[in-house]
């Protein structure tokens, strides 16, 4: 009995010693060669891995490039990337670890849930956080989120873009179909807000499950209301299935989708049926077709070339969010030096910074800073993305 308790005590103290060993202590020190420490918490494994992996690759690539160029004003950047396994508790622990290590800012996380989980931690520790996730809740209300910024476009922007496109093309009565999950639901809520502003009526609403293999019944129901266009808020494979059903039924009206179809999987799965589909999207997929006057074009092409050289594939939109987060942090450190509060102030007043997802114009009221010009409307022609003027 006694021995057992002693043993337990021993184990506990060992654990503590092990934990303390690398814990605090290394926070300050402003020597010339001292690297700038930047933390990143990325959903590298778990359900959000498809977002996190390109983000990690992009961050690594950018940090290597920066250090090869001599870092920031001669000081190298020490980028610490941690995996949170798409788990919220792990994200909180990772954030505290990074803060103890004295990072100047935290990039992350990849998904809305993990990003929200660390908001309280960074707010309390007064460390700037730049999330790469979509939910507007991450940065709103700004009064409670002074230290939190994000680089991905919010859903309301996509909804506005679609509604504006419909109005401009004289399609007043539309049908709306969405996936029955967080993505589709957020889309539905935002589209219901955006449509009336542009004078668009939603005359039919249908939902389908993410696992459904056929949406013919929903589309048949929608057809009876005679819409002038059909809007679908989904990601592949559902988005591809409904595109095929749509073609088979021959509805004969335009099919509008969202940024959710912005990957090769959608084109592969829907084949010929995808031709003619219209969707708002980040500019990365059509970088080559942008007019030379577009402020983002040069950066987009540079990113695509660099990523293809390092990893052999074309980068995804998610990698773009990481690219922007990293550049925002580097920009802020260049201006402010190794001071968290000064970095936050610089971030909040950054304007005209050209990124992959758009041109960032941050302000004390807007911690995302992307306008609707950050997205373009594209159409699929012959199985390829085409910029629609």
């Amino acid at each position: 009995m006694n021995r057992r308790i002693l043993c337990l005590l021993l184990c506990m103290s060992l654990l503590l010693v092990a934990g303390c060993g690398q814990g605090p202590g290394s926070t300050d020190g402003e020597k010339a060669a001292e690297p700038y420490k930047i933390g990143a918490i990325v959903d590298i494994s778990g359900p959000a891995a498809s977002l996190g992996e390109p983000e990690r690759d992009t961050l690594r690539m950018l940090a290597d490039e920066l250090n090869a160029r001599g870092g920031i004003d001669g000081r190298p950047v020490d980028l610490i990337i941690l995996d949170n396994k798409s788990l919220e508790t792990e994200a909180v622990l990772a954030a505290k670890r990074l803060i103890d290590q004295g990072v100047l800012a935290i990039i992350g996380c990849s998904a809305s849930g993990t990003s929200l989980a660390i908001v309280d931690t960074v707010q309390k520790a007064n460390v700037p956080q730049i999330s790469m996730a979509a939910s507007a809740l991450i940065v709103e209300p700004v009064t409670d989120r002074q230290w939190v910024f994000k680089t991905a476009q919010s859903d309301i922007m996509v909804a506005n873009k679609i509604a504006a496109y419909l109005a401009a093309n004289g399609m007043k009565n539309v049908a709306f179909l969405s996936m029955n999950n967080a993505f589709g639901d957020s889309g539905r809520v935002n589209f219901e807000k955006a449509a009336p502003i542009h004078g668009v009526n939603i005359i039919a609403k249908e939902k389908f499950e993410a696992t459904d293999k056929d949406m013919t019944s929903q589309l048949t129901k929608v057809r009876t209301t005679k819409p002038e266009a059909v809007v679908v808020w989904a990601i592949p494979p559902s988005a591809a299935i409904i595109t095929k059903n749509f073609k088979d039924l021959g509805l004969g009206v335009p099919l509008i989708q969202t940024h959710g179809i912005g990957n090769q999987a959608f084109l592969d799965l829907s084949g010929d049926a995808a031709n003619g589909v219209v969707a708002p999207m980040g500019k990365l997929v059509v970088a080559e077709q942008l007019p030379d006057s577009d402020p983002q074009k040069a950066l987009l092409l540079e990113y695509i070339t660099a990523f293809e050289k390092s990893y052999g594939t074309r980068p995804s939109t998610f990698g773009g969010h990481a690219h922007d987060a990293f550049n925002l942090v580097v920009h802020a450190i260049t201006e402010a030096g190794a001071d968290r509060a000064a970095i936050r102030d610089v971030l909040e007043h950054t304007t005209g910074l050209v990124g992959i997802s758009g041109v960032f114009n941050l302000s004390p009221q807007d911690h995302n800073g992307l306008g609707e010009d950050s997205m373009v409307v594209i159409q699929i022609k012959d199985g390829k993305w085409q910029l629609l003027e």
Partner: protein, 329 residues
Amino acid sequence: MASAKSRYWIALILVVVCVPLFVKSNYVLSILIVIGLYAIIVQGLGLLMGYAGQVSFGQAAFYGLGAYTAAILATKCDWPPVLCVLVAPFLPALVALIIGRPILRLREHYLVLATLGFGILAFAAFNESIALTGGPSGLTGIPYLSIGPLVLDNDRSYYYVVWGVLGLVILAVANLTGSPIGRAFKAIHASEQAAQSAGIDTALLKLQAFVFSAFLAGLAGGLYAFWVTFVGPSPFGFTASIEFVLMAVVGGLGTLWGPVLGSAIIVGLAEFLRWGVPILLPKVGGEFEIVFFGIIFVLIMLLRPQGILAPGRPSGMSGVAVKEEKCSG
């Protein structure tokens, strides 16, 4: 003996109380908080598995139910946080009471499957009831735990709360296992038929253990919600349930301190791997820790199947515990 025992208790309490005086790192304190939270859950699970002999792969669901109950009461009904933490365990306990009767009629693999199914159902419910739980985006705006003017908004004070609660739980479990009910639990574990023929209401006792374990998981959930001040579904998935079972088995079933040691080992190891593996094997992908947990599980089964803290020589009941663990694990 009694005085020696109380001396150890005092020493132990002193260690727990003094830790924050020496540890200045919020990261280390956070790890200790997580260990404390998990130890509360694993205490309940340890009682269920080690004494009553029933395996549950649904503890993460009760943990989540507690967290969501506390979070929803605090954000949507504006209840005072302390009341939320106190009320939170009762919903999981009630759910356990309702599903317990039919589920506990099942044995071994079937019981495992039923609790596993319940865990997955609850996880789907957390994700889908968007109006209530916020769905995959979770619930934000949870206030800090406050007792009167005292607001527990830092890791140091929260560490004391969690370990204080854990201390009370350990005390309760110690008293319970020493009582006639505890001995009846052990009898069920040894042989359900024999216990039944000795006049023990085995169905009722198993149900009580199940409800108690759900209550403790819910308690930890409520504490979790006010620590992170954000609740999303990801900590309450199937993997978490497996980890709780792993903690219980590694620490030692049927022991008082096994759950604490088990949680400390698994949480500590996961944190160590997060740092160690990328340094040693930079190219390795995400899910490496599953491999390490698997190796630990196999080693424990081979070398100390009764768990680290359980008595070395299988005697009496723990001998049976070993056998049952093997077939359910």
